[in-house]
């Protein structure tokens, strides 16, 4: 079997450890004999409909995010159609914000998003930094958040998870991230996928099922190190308590 992963604007969005998510998908596919073809979508390039089975987007600095907001809306139709079909996508931090309707930075003009997530983001003065644990339908997810943007969902029910410790979308309503169909958005760096294997495997399984039109049961892997890292991070986070300052 074979999958094509498109990494959105890696030259612009590549903050601390985004590459780890790609590495995790790659490793977990390779272990099961699945070939993962990696394509980078560069600035100004066109995303062709049907040319991908998986999408990943990371975070970036303010100026780079502004550049992405110039290129991304051009790909909006293709991404939205794929989202409706159930194509799995993972967007983190900067790209999560731009998959919402808009991001209003502290200075400068509003950045237009593509509105796959019924959400918007406004920059705030307090940066939300620290370890974060959330509960989701895929179990606990653990990561590290570092964002000044406050994201608000039109309906809290669309959240990816509930914050156990940390700040989440906006530090007030205890929601974190957003999920629409198989499109995931969140603030969890860390990197997220290596130490949250169920999410990584969910993305791979869904992509395969959509492409090969049959049920897929991935072979379990020896994930002892993955879970050790997961549990250590959860422990550190819960120990430092609610609101990680």
């Amino acid at each position: 079997m074979e999958l094509t992963l498109v990494h959105l604007y890696p030259d612009l969005l590549n903050i601390y450890g985004d590459q780890g998510n790609v590495a995790a998908l790659n490793y977990r596919c390779a272990q099961r004999g699945i070939k993962l073809k990696l394509k980078n979508l560069g600035a100004g390039e066109v995303l062709v409909a049907g040319s991908f089975d998986l999408i990943f987007g990371g975070g970036g600095q303010d100026s780079q995010q502004a550049s992405v907001s110039r290129y991304l809306p051009g790909q909006s139709a293709v991404l939205k159609q794929a989202a409706r079909r159930g194509v799995p996508m993972l967007t983190i931090c900067g790209s999560y914000q731009l998959f919402g309707r808009y991001f209003k930075p502290f200075t400068g003009p509003m950045l237009k998003g593509i509105g796959i997530f019924p959400a918007y983001t406004v920059a705030s003065k307090t940066r939300k930094i620290g370890n974060i644990v959330i509960t989701t339908s895929l179990g606990k997810l653990v990561g590290f958040e570092n964002h000044s943007g406050n994201t608000f969902l039109d309906q809290p029910g669309l959240a990816l998870g509930r914050v156990m410790a940390g700040n989440g979308n906006n530090g007030t309503d205890q929601t974190e991230g957003c999920r629409v169909n198989n499109v995931f958005g969140c603030y969890l760096h860390g990197s997220l996928l290596p130490k949250n294997p169920p999410l990584a495997d969910y993305l791979i399984t869904t992509a395969l099922e959509l492409k090969y039109r049959r049920q897929i049961n991935l072979r379990p892997l020896d994930d002892r190190l993955e879970w050790q890292a997961h549990q250590t991070a959860v422990k550190i986070c819960l120990k430092s308590g609610w609101r990680n300052w």
Partner: protein
Amino acid sequence: MLISLIISKFIAGFGGTALPGLIGLRLTPTLINQIVKKNKLASVVVTGTNGKTTTSRLLGAVLTESKINFCHNRSGSNLLRGIATALINQSNWLGKIKSKLAICEVDEAAAPAAIRALKPKIIVFTNISRDQLDRYGEVDHLLKLWQKSLDTLPSASRVLVNAADRRLKILKHPRLTYFGSSLPGAGLKYPPRYGGKFNQDSLWAIEAVCRHLDLDPKLAAVCAQKTKAAFGRGEVFKLDGQKYQINLVKNPASFKAVWQMLADRRHLNQPFMLALNDKLADGTDVSWIWDVPFTGLGRRRKPIIVTGTRASDLALRLKYAGCNPKNLFVEPKIYPALAALRKIPGTIKYILPTYTALLELRQSLGKQAWN
């Protein structure tokens, strides 16, 4: 100022590294600037993400060799309070300082305030890269703050910038010059026993500083041969008759440089202990390890000891870089990890710790191992 000075000098009498400076600055926020003015103290500020300690140390050696009296802040006390402490310790009760020159190794986020307070004669920018996003924020933002502080400099000040770092090209100043490999006259090599790209950059930086202090630039290379590596920066020591080298790794750029040095020496199959802590001084976000290109691990047969509060994150990173998990020995506690490293045979054993892991390691090893 006098009262603050007396109080903080009194506190300094009880020891402590940054406390006198902290209290002095609380009482008189302009304390540093006042001492500088009173003594017409010229200073050389060294800042950047990596290479600050090695560069300042080499400059110290050059000044000692030239018999120039100077003061400097201790490594690890590179915030404003550390600089204030160094000046307080040097001054008498009236705020008079004997030396006419100060070397200030300054944390990159503290640099703008330090530059404003010190009005330095020379500023050296070693490099800039992502380091502890949780503490320093984004690189672009930091560069803007640096530029703003450069705009407040006296016109006689010199700004020396590493030519090898393209991101630094954004810095502007009327008396800005570049140092580094791409420039004429840069042919001197750092002694190989140090290794690592940042050390070579330090040598070029100090050659440039020498030119502006009317000292012979050749002194930089001469002193580099004689100076011992700074604590944990490529330092070599012996334990039970075996050779060890410690290289501090604190961000993707420094880890990459050290890894490259190991690859160049063909030492990627020697015994390693990698230590990753996530305390405040290390940065509480460990995502950065995923940006380090760990090459050559697929062929490794010897175990790697992985330790520190986030040992399991680092072990996972190494696994995904191609290291056989059977070769990964995870022991979060540093002392037992070190004991395990001692048992693995090899020509030279490498220890690559983050900052607070380095401090713990020093305690574990005890002083005798160091000399």
